[in-house]
Symmetry: C2
């Protein structure tokens, strides 16, 4: 098994530390805690990484994938632009701001990163069908990756998602099942399906393949550090849905320090939620260590997870690093999407409006240091959430093709 998973050596329980062989398991048999991948990295150098492909596979020595992963049929996501956002920084009063723009990925969200790792695990475990519960972006990433890899796909979404996300998940040829309910109900349904003979030989990327899948988010940390010239940012604003992405970016930064690839400089991690689904932000503000589930009601549907699995870990990381968790209203989300577009030419989906809106709110509150090097994540694409900007989905003016008509406006 070791060859297929590269530097990964075991699964270990995040709660009690119990170790298990690498397999399609996700919960500790001792304490029911979540399992994550444990590694034996050996030596990894900046030069080795720089000599790799311009995709997440340049970090294959830090991921649970085989050394020849780049030769396999995979979407090869990553190495997206880290945009120096001087205009937005000036508008917000920040000296040094970058936007990590993950809309450049193959299906235009960060989900291509996590799915790419899950596909390799699915292949190794002999699964013939790739599946997931999804708030939309993941469904498209899974069906696209399955098409490329030659696997079947059957994905599950809340039935009321944006049309663009539905079309994108269908066009790749997999089955797309709408569930009458919230994402959390879709997720519970998938957990039942895994225990049923119907779901045999199915790899649910965010359930029984979750330990592998989640590691894909570490590549955001690696890329940000490498693109900054091999150093850590001082402040970073990350969206929180399940919370997995935020915890894995923290894990990625810590690995880079441990391997001597970056200096051990302090960084503050800030989580961003939509007010209409802000259980982690609410817990943070109340000083709680656990998260009270909520029923989501927000235009940021890709973040609409009311019962976030990694919520407690997000709270822990925000507090440990001196960061925080904040939320913004739907109106603030729309304003932030427009602000990012007008200043930097980046059209974010509503989740990007959440991070930029929270960034703005934190600067105004004095919580963020305006002099510190700051990174904000855009994890998705505005073309998938057009309703959020429907007020400007028409020309400024419509005229006949004549100079007189143009002069008149």
């Amino acid at each position: 098994m070791s060859l297929e998973f590269g530097p990964a050596v075991a699964l270990s329980c995040r709660e009690c530390g119990a170790r298990y062989d690498l397999g399609p398991s996700f919960a500790c048999l001792e304490c029911f805690g979540p399992l994550e991948v444990a590694y034996d990295f050996g030596t990894v150098t900046r030069e080795q990484i720089a000599a790799g492909p311009t995709s997440i596979w340049r970090y294959r020595a830090l991921l649970p994938v085989p050394a020849d992963v780049a030769a396999k049929r995979n979407m090869n996501p990553g190495w997206t632009n880290l945009v120096r956002a001087d205009n937005l920084g000036r508008a917000l009063g920040l000296r040094s701001l970058h936007v990590k723009d993950d809309s450049g990925n193959p299906t235009h969200s960060f989900k291509d990163r996590v799915v790419a790792i899950a596909v390799e695990a699915a292949r190794t475990f002999g699964f013939h069908t790739l599946s997931c519960s999804s708030t939309g972006n993941l469904a498209g990433a899974v069906t696209a990756a399955a098409a490329r890899a030659g696997l079947d796909a059957c994905v599950f979404i809340p039935a009321d998602l944006e049309q663009a996300k539905i079309a994108m998940a269908r066009v790749f040829g997999g089955r797309l099942i709408g569930i009458e309910g919230t994402y959390d109900e879709v997720n519970r349904f998938c957990s039942e399906l895994i225990g049923d003979p119907l779901g045999d030989k199915w790899g649910f990327v965010n359930v029984n393949l979750r330990p592998y899948y989640a590691e894909g988010s570490k590549t955001l940390a690696y890329e940000i550090a490498e693109q900054l010239g091999w150093r850590l940012p001082e402040q970073i604003v990350i969206p929180v849905a399940s919370g997995s992405q935020l915890t894995k970016i923290d894990k990625g930064f810590k690995e880079l320090v441990a391997l001597g690839l970056v200096e051990d400089t302090p960084y503050k991690i800030f989580g961003a939620q939509a007010q209409g689904c802000s259980p982690v932000s609410a817990a943070y503000k109340a000083g709680h260590e656990v998260v009270q589930p909520v029923k989501p009601d927000t235009i940021a549907k890709s973040l609409a997870i009311g019962n976030p699995a990694d919520g407690p870990y997000v709270l822990d990381i925000a507090r440990r690093t001196g960061g925080g968790v904040e939320d913004v209203t739907d109106a603030e989300i729309v304003d932030a999407v427009k602000l990012l577009a007008a200043t930097e030419g980046i059209f974010a989906e509503t989740a990007g409006g959440v991070t930029v809106g929270v960034l703005k709110k934190l600067v105004e509150a004095g919580t963020l240091d305006p002099e510190a090097e700051t990174v904000v994540l855009n994890t998705g694409d505005g073309l998938k959430t057009l309703d959020a900007v429907s007020s400007i989905a028409a020309p400024s003016a419509v005229i006949r093709p004549s100079l007189d008509a143009f002069r008149a406006i």
Copy 2:
């Protein structure tokens, strides 16, 4: 002036060879022929290029831009994936097929490449407003790049474009003027505007900045050759709107040969049009050297240019290289979009359906050699032409969250 335009030394007339200083000119004063950029390249090595950024600026020594262009406020497009398309190749009966997937660019079309060059020229010439006539993708690329560069934008489109393209062009904050008429009428209007005081200090990327703008398409040729391991493909299928992209890819291949960066191996260039706007294909089949304008009627709106400026050059290149020009119906375009998606996980806009549809047609007709190394271009994004796949813009099924309900389907 020479520093601002790097290796470019003059504008020269494509028809009569007359030379002019580098300036915002686009037509020969002697014969009204189109002007293009002339260079004095000196020595350019693979190593120099490989040491550059992962954007079109790695080829800055081959473009009319300054040596420090990567430090300026620009969208930094390019270095998109060249996808090894084994599944699609197998479906079509081709031994070696790659898809150059330009949907990974910042605004998800190849237009970011050409606009990036035009922005630098606009800066140098002191234009304060960036403008264009557009079938949709260009409008978004221009307004995004203007936002990033800190320029004003005012762009012109046919009023009946896809909603996603309209929203994308508006969100970046520029003025978007819908014109009641076809693209060709929009284009004529812009030519009038340039001669009017209203359009003073305006850089129309595809009119008075066209010689610079058009050079951006050469980067597709450079990237394809470098990503194939520094060699030319044997066959390539390219969409034809104005025809500029196809002629510049040919120019790029010839430059690489002249500079000794690739071996001088033969390549065949094939142009692809939608049957509802196929003036170049019609001229090719009739054996004509000039193109008879048509009134477009096709779902491939980004290719709907009825009076293509570079039509005669496309005919010449297709004949000289032993290639051809072919067209496909709207139904074939939709089928090809779905085929590309289901085999490779790439969601193309209708223009990508045109190239893949033509590829299929040419293989079936025996015009393409199934054993030769072939590249097909996808120049845009399916999220912008969702209407083309509206028949599948719904879940396969909608059920309650229960195993019984799932079993029933």
